[in-house]
């Protein structure tokens, strides 16, 4: 498995501001994934982050709104920009160890007022 931490675990933010979420893994991984889970919903992939290249975004998600950094093989950040109440969700990062299973971080619960 993998030990994954996320910071912050939760936050309450004002509309129009931005929040950066950090994801740290206990060992090197090639790909990291960022998911969004809206209240009462399932998980939806935002983007895939490869070290050393631009993140790949899913349909409906854009870099200006969700910029991602991947400076090394154990760390990534997701920024939620210019937030609105519709961005209130749980944001989770995941990693794959052996290309056949993904392990998830504990998630960041974001509330936008």
């Amino acid at each position: 498995s993998a030990v994954i931490s996320q910071k912050p675990s939760r936050d309450i933010c004002q509309r129009g501001t931005s929040l950066t979420i950090q994801c740290q893994v206990d060992s090197q991984v090639t790909m990291m994934f960022w998911y969004r889970q809206q209240p009462g919903q399932s998980l939806t992939l935002i983007a895939t982050a490869n070290q050393g290249s631009e993140a790949t975004y899913e349909s409906g998600f854009v870099i200006d709104k969700f910029p991602i950094s991947r400076p090394n093989l154990t760390f990534s950040t997701l920024t939620v920009s210019n937030m609105s109440p519709e961005d209130s969700s749980i944001y989770l990062c995941s990693v794959s160890r052996q290309a056949d299973t993904q392990y998830f971080g504990p998630g960041t619960r974001l509330t936008v007022l």
Partner: protein
């Protein structure tokens, strides 16, 4: 495109009983992985069990087992001797096999399971 369908939004069973959660999926891929993840109120996504599509034998993990029917594209989860700690949201999920890399996971909408004392 792949889809995952969970037809039971919510279920309740008595402690110590056996419960089966249903999942069907649609794909044109031949090599893929199927998962059941558990999400308790703490919101942590916990991998319960994993099945490789090329394996005919059903995966088991202690009290958890699956019934994998590849031709029918069905992947149900059986929880035996259910415990209060099994109360959680359960997500069925699909991941395509990609040579030399990883792929995204497609999740079903989830089944909320209540274990009653």
């Amino acid at each position: 495109a792949q889809t995952v369908t969970q037809s039971q939004p919510e279920m309740s069973v008595q402690e110590a009983e056996t419960v089966t959660l249903s999942c069907t999926y649609d794909t044109s891929e031949n090599n893929y992985y199927l998962f059941w993840y558990k999400q308790p109120p703490s919101r942590q996504m916990i991998l319960v069990i994993r099945q490789e599509a090329y394996k005919q034998q059903n995966a088991t993990e202690n009290r958890f087992s699956v019934n994998f029917q590849k031709a029918a594209k069905s992947f149900s989860l059986k929880i035996s001797d259910s415990q209060l700690g099994d109360t959680a949201m359960y997500f069925c999920a699909f991941m395509k096999h990609v040579v030399g890399g990883d792929d995204k996971i497609i999740f079903g909408k989830g089944t909320r399971l209540h274990i009653l004392p």
